[in-house]
Symmetry: C2
Subunit: 242 residues, 2 copies
Amino acid sequence: MQPIFVLVRPQMGENIGAAARAMANFGLDNMRIVAPRDGWPNPKAVAMASGAGRLLDAAMVTEDTAAALADCTTVYATTARPRGLTKRVLTPEAAMGEASAKIAAGERVAVLFGPERAGLENDDIARANAIISVPVDPGYASLNLAQCALLTAYEWRRQTAEITADRVDYAKTEPATGVEVEKLAEHYEAQLDAAGMFYPEAKAEGMKVTLRNLWSRMPLTRADVQLLHGIMRQMVRWKERG
Amino acid sequence: MQPIFVLVRPQMGENIGAAARAMANFGLDNMRIVAPRDGWPNPKAVAMASGAGRLLDAAMVTEDTAAALADCTTVYATTARPRGLTKRVLTPEAAMGEASAKIAAGERVAVLFGPERAGLENDDIARANAIISVPVDPGYASLNLAQCALLTAYEWRRQTAEITADRVDYAKTEPATGVEVEKLAEHYEAQLDAAGMFYPEAKAEGMKVTLRNLWSRMPLTRADVQLLHGIMRQMVRWKERG
C-alpha cells in the first residue's frame, strides 16, 4: 500500500500532469483530484503526463475534499506557511517515515496538495492530522505543486524502497585482487629501478613506499591494472628501440 | 561553503531559470554555466528565475567543462543511466552527505548537470569522481534538469541545515498542563455523573477510565481545554433553562 496524493482544486491541467509524472518517478500511482477547475478529463493534463497517463485514468475525481478522504484514516496537508491552526508540522522526511509505519499497521494515508495560487484553505487543513512543510530557505520559498509532490514522493521512496546508497558500476570489469595489485607494484618497481628512478640510495626506500601506497590507495579494476602494465611495457619497448 | 552546481550546455533558458529557483529554495547560490546553447545572458532564464535572478547575475559562464571545474577538488556527475564507465554511483543522499564532509574539510565540490535532451556526455562524466543517480522507479524515470537540481539541493539542505523534523505550531496558545487536563476530566465526570451517564453501576468505573484516557490521549492546548469547559457549561445551562 502507498499514500494517496490528493490534489485539491488544481487549476492548470499541466500541473496535474506534472504531479502525475512526479509520483510515477517514485513508484506512486494512487491519485485523487478534488474539483479540478477546468473539468475532467483534461487533455492538457494527459499531454503533460507523458507515460504517467495511467495515474490520471485511474484517478478518483470528487466534488469536495471530504469525499476524497472518506476512507482515509490519516491525512497530511502540505502547506508552505503557518495557518493559525494548532497542528503538528512535519518535514516530508518525518511525515513519510510516519506514513510508512502507519500504512504497515493497516492505515490508509492521504496527502493533500493545494491549488497552485493560494494553496490549501484552512477548511481543508482542518481535516488533516498533521501538516507537511518542506524545509525551504525562509528567504526564498517558491515550490510549485509538482515540486512539492516530487519531494514528498521522493521521501516516500527513499524511506521504503531498497536502495543502495553507494555502489560501483563496473563496466565489463571487476575490482583488481590483492595479488594483481602486488604484481603491478613489483612490475613498476623493477622497471623504475632499472631506469634509475630510486636515487639517491638514502631516499630509495621512502620512494618505493610512496609508490606502493599510491597503488593501494587507488580503487583499481582488472582493466586498470592491465592498462598500467601496458603503459610500462610500452615505455620499456620505446627505450629498447633506442 | 556550498556545492557549486554546474549546468553543462543547457538548452532552454527556462530550464536554467528553473534550476536557479530550485537551488534558491534550498539556500544554494553558486551556479556555473558551460556553453549555454542560446548564449548569455538569456532573458528567458531571467524571466523564469523570478526572485532567484541574483544566482544568474553571479553565475560564472565558461566555454568548456574543464574551465568550470578548474578550482574544484571533488566533482559529482548526475546521470540517470549507466554509461559504461567504471565509477562509484551514489544516491543524492549519500553524495550530499559526503559533499558536506568534504566541504567541511576544505574541499571545493561541484555537481555537474547535463543538457536537457541527452544528459552529460561521457567526456564530462570522466571528469567526475563519482556519479549521482536519483533512485527513481526503474519502470518510469523522467526527471528533468530542474527536478534533478531540486532533489540534489533538497538533500544538501536536509543534511546540513538545522531542521526540526517534527514540531507543533501553536496558534496563540500552548500545550495544556497536567493540572488543566485533570480539572477538565473532573468537570466532565461530575456533570456527566449528574446527567446519569455512568449507568449501570457495574460499568461506571470502566466508563470513567475510558473517558479519562480520551482526554490524556489528546494533545490538548489551553485553548482546547477552555473550549471543552465551555461546551459542558453550555449544555448544563441549556438543561437548566428547562
